[in-house]
Amino acid sequence: MSNEHSMRRVTAIRNGTVIDHIPQGHAMTVLEMLGINDKTSVPVSLVMNVPSKKMGSKDIIKVEDRELTQGELDRLALVAPDAHVAIIRAYTVAEKMTINLGAEVVNVVRCTMSNCITSNPREPLPHRLKVMSRDPLQLRCHYCGRTQNLVELVKNVI
């Protein structure tokens, strides 16, 4: 088996977006955060547990015929802050994008405290969590002040 053959587990895409270096086991969450589900009509390839020199193991997602926006990518900062994103046009990398984790995450996840005022779905103000630490990732709810980590937050993706 040639090197190229072993690396290319999914065929190259003509147009679309490739998200590489997703932490192992987080690809499904990334799909969820991007709103990609069984209603999605464009082809989507998902590879999990691929050996990676840098990460040990990683996940990869390829979305055909859809170019993700910077806003969509920034939502991924919580689960895949170091992912590499490439926009593909005519089989070549047309653009490389990075994911930015800002000082605050707005309307990406809900606070995990069950008694937080934001747990009432009818309250209209945005869900706001401040980034307190990047490594390990820790966020604090702007309203109730509860500090929470990724394991807790992943279940609360909006």
């Binding site: 934001t118 309250e123 309203y143």
Partner: protein, 316 residues
């Protein structure tokens, strides 16, 4: 500043200045002088949870300063029961009033209200979160007794898990380099994220279940009620109810100027025999709620408290 949601909204200098204002306002709070600094201003009292002292002392504070108060009244008969969001309620009261005092069962409600309102919000308690106006009256009481806030040894006892008064007070005392002792049953220990936060700010903390051994060199013992209403499981409550019962006989070896405080209401954690001792300060503490809130209302409404209140005020 917009409102007072947590003690982080005030610098140490601002805290001291507000306590100074409060001290000058004492004769007005006692009804010995009339000083209508807030005439024409309206306070909206929004208490979504039961309150006796906080609500009444806000009302008294506003009225002593010549202002007026509108009340949400019983939540059961307001629009809240019809499903109105907090956001909508605030939009309405914001239009009726110049400042809002609010208590709400959900944590973060005060910040949420502040983000929804143009007028300042005074947080009168949000779930098990913060209660900064209580902290201001607590600090006033401590300074009144000891002449300072810095470097005191303060024992906080009882329900440290759900007790919002002790959460806010611990943060404030840490900023004044006080030594803290947290005495509670294991089930009601101070939340870990609060302890980490306090330690990150340089707090000196001792945690224990044994209140009585920690009393000897304390400057302040701050008792709290074990709050039945915060327990969903009756059996869990039964395990910790009555964990501490302070009696006058327990006070033989304490410092002469040590004070015992309690945010009230008490159940059985302070025996009535303590009331007659020189250590009991909880009723003065409750009165101090008026004067501390008078100073806060002035501060948030941008009204200066005159340096010479005796001269500016008029006798009845």
């Amino acid at each position: 500043m917009s409102g007072l949601i947590t003690m982080d909204d005030l610098t140490n200098e601002e805290i001291i200045a507000i306590l100074d204002d409060a001290e000058r306002l004492l004769p007005v709070a006692k009804g010995e002088l009339y000083l209508p600094l807030l005439q024409g201003r309206i306070l909206g009292n929004l208490f979504f949870e039961p309150s006796t002292r906080t609500r009444m002392s806000f009302e008294t504070a506003m009225k002593r300063l010549g202002g007026d108060v509108v009340n949400l009244g019983d939540v059961k008969t307001s629009s809240v029961v019809k499903g109105e969001t907090l956001f909508d309620t605030i939009q309405m009261v914001d239009g009726y009033t110049d400042i809002i005092a609010m208590r709400h069962p959900r944590q973060g409600a005060a910040q949420y209200a502040q983000d929804s309102a143009r007028v300042p919000i005074l947080n009168g308690g949000d779930g098990a979160g913060h209660h900064p106006t209580q902290t201001m009256l607590d600090l006033f009481t401590i300074r009144q007794a000891h002449g300072r806030l810095d470097g005191l040894k303060v024992v906080l006892a009882g329900d440290l898990r759900y007790g919002r008064t002790v959460h806010s007070l611990s943060h404030a005392l840490t900023r004044f380099d006080c030594e803290l002792v947290f005495a509670s049953p294991d089930l009601l220990r101070m939340p870990r994220d609060i302890v980490s936060d306090l330690e990150a700010h340089g707090a000196k903390i001792t945690e224990t279940e044994d209140l009585y051994s920690m009393m000897k060199d304390a400057d302040v013992i701050y008792m709290t009620r074990i709050q039945k209403e915060r327990f969903s499981d009756e059996d869990e409550y039964a395990k910790v109810a009555g964990a501490y019962k302070l009696h006058a006989n327990d006070l033989n070896d304490v410092k002469a100027n040590m004070i015992i405080m309690h945010p009230l209401p008490r159940v059985d954690e302070i025996h009535p025999s303590v009331d007659a001792t020189r250590h009991a300060r909880y009723f003065e503490q409750a009165f101090n709620g008026v004067v501390a809130r008078m100073a806060l209302l002035c501060k948030l409404l941008g009204v200066s408290v005159p340096k010479n209140v005796e001269k500016e005020g008029s006798a009845f």
